[in-house]
Amino acid sequence: MELMGKKDVAEPGYREKVRRTKSWSAIDLKETYSPGDADEDNYKKNIGDPGQYPFTRGIYPNMYRGKLWTRRQPWGFGTPEDTNKQMKYLISHGNTGLMVFRDQPTMHGLDSDHPLARGEVGVSGVPLVSMDDMEDLFDDIPLDEISSTLLCASVVSPVILAQYIAVAKKRGISMSKLRGTISNDPIMSHVCYSDVANPPKLGVKIWGDLVEYCGENMPLWHAAYVSSCYNMRDYGLDAPEEVAFGLKIAATFIDGCLERGMDIDNVARRMSFYCAAGIDIFEEVAKYRAMRRMWAKMLKEKYGAKDKGSLQFKFAVQCAGHSLIPQQPLNNIARTSFETLAAVLGGAQSIFTTTFVEPVCLPTKDAQRTSLAIQGIVAHETGAAAVADPLGGSYYVEQLTNAVEEKATGIMEQIDKLGGFISALEGGWVQKVIDEGNQRYQKEIENGDRLIVGLNYMSIPPEEDTVLPGGVLEIPPGTEERQIERVKRLKANRNINLVKASLKELTQGVAMGENENLMPYILRAVESKSTVEEIMGTIRTTLGMSWDPWGYRNSPFV
């Protein structure tokens, strides 16, 4: 981004040639690919038909003829009521699943009236302080029909899931009917959100609690959602690194569950991944194909999983935020269209097409609708969804799939040598790889090895740049005041004895040690109208930490 105002590094011109002859992740490419590159002899063993082990070509035989991917544009803005209206708007415009963004205070386990919450309540997500907020958020939305992805930092995820379950119970819907995903990736939360709010040990414990609880009570729920892939990719990884980090992080969580004595198929069957779709179409397709094959082989060969569902790599995709730029923002519509296409050609189960305004402001209505339209166009106009794994058998794509797998395997071996992912993280290696990736990306833009339209190629003076159609999203005035008022009212009107009793039980549950599942305690606390900060603060203080991660506030009960 530092380049704007400087001269383009390359000029468009007559008889212009392709400049970059390697993939976006620096895999060297030949001029052309031929029979022999595609590894046809090993088709059955290494590639297989769609729906067949090792699932390189997709996890279902008929792919989108059976069911299209879920169109899952996220929302979370203003109060729960505001967000409810907008989610209904998205559903009426073609969203087929919901994804809820929580605001920053909720994500860090703080109530809306916390001093650090000022200016952040309802800004980049919706506040979910108590089950009342969740109730209003899902007002008039059928919880037994829709599938919902609830996004939060992992250590706070059990509270958010408990709020969702509590609302369903209140409506007479059994939690066994609930369909969706809870974000649950403590390593991502630690690296990308906040290290102090997401201590790895608590994170891994909670990961196991969620997987165990949902495994026993919520057969349709995905409780093991590895979102490191997308998030760390966006922080600086390339495609093979995304594969390697994602699989190694997943393996770390699996190992933790096995240590607790859980069955591999109970753990792996409901695991899913959140991957990025970058701009290099073929490399991204190769990446998804490689990841499916590597996952299936890892689960079968290393972990001895037997259930077909455990071997099927299920993934949601978000178009990579880092590929979008604020200059000439309409061009981002083209970028996210190619990325959405790559996700479909790669066999994604669910897609979030990042809005074109992403680098400029929070998503506007127009931008959201455009994203849904892109998915509709790819689904019904381009023909890309009609055939399973349409690029399978392409000499190039098969070879690139092998190349991504080979690179990723090398990185995974390196992580093993460092003593596993947690050791690699604690030793600073993970951050180093991310930082180096970032710097390399920036350098390649500066030296012209990577051309990005509007940034270092075909740029225009800022004063001539496009004004965003649909304007900039403004926070509705008074949102924060209304929400704080709401939280104060809740705290004043609830039965405080019930709250205290449920938190006392939670304290006892935490004190019982790592193998005691906290979900039932958290659910009771939520149903007693305890807030997210009260529950997190109780867990933290019982474990000897401060009430909130930054020590701004103490327990109100002592």
Binding site: M1, M4, Q104, E120, V123, Q327, V360, P462, V472, I475
Partner: protein, 131 residues
């Protein structure tokens, strides 16, 4: 030679997009200034307190999630309360063009959004602090 310029660089609120703030902090250091880097998870009170304690010449803020319009007025109010009126405050990050005038009206001396070079930030800080 005149006194070294001392800058307090901080993010405001809970957003953790720290890349920009870190880049600016290291650019100012490279230009010979003294930088007190507060990083993420700061409330306006802390930023003002640090600026007073450190006798800073300038405050640099970084916002990425739309919190600038709420937290900047609070910061200025606290500065006024604490008698810290004479040092400039600059801001960078994801700030829509549409908000720039409002921020300046509130008292922000410089708004740096995408496309800003580090040289431009350094030059601006040197100029405004030598006034």
């Amino acid at each position: 030679m005149s006194k070294r310029i001392k800058a307090v660089i901080s993010k405001l609120g809970l957003d953790s997009h720290e890349r920009g703030a870190k880049l600016v902090a290291s650019a100012l250091k490279d230009a010979g200034m003294e930088v007190v880097y507060l990083g993420s998870f700061q409330i306006p009170e802390n930023v003002v307190k640090t600026a007073i304690q450190e006798d800073a010449d300038i405050i640099g803020l970084s916002c990425h999630s739309g919190e600038h319009l709420t937290l900047v007025p609070i910061l200025f109010e606290i500065m006024k309360e604490k008698g810290l009126k004479n040092i400039p405050v600059i801001i960078g990050g994801v700030i829509p063009k549409e908000n720039v005038e409002e921020l300046k009206r509130l008292g922000i001396s410089g708004v740096f959004t995408y496309g800003t070079t580090m040289d431009q930030v350094v030059e601006f800080v040197e100029n405004i602090c030598s006034k």
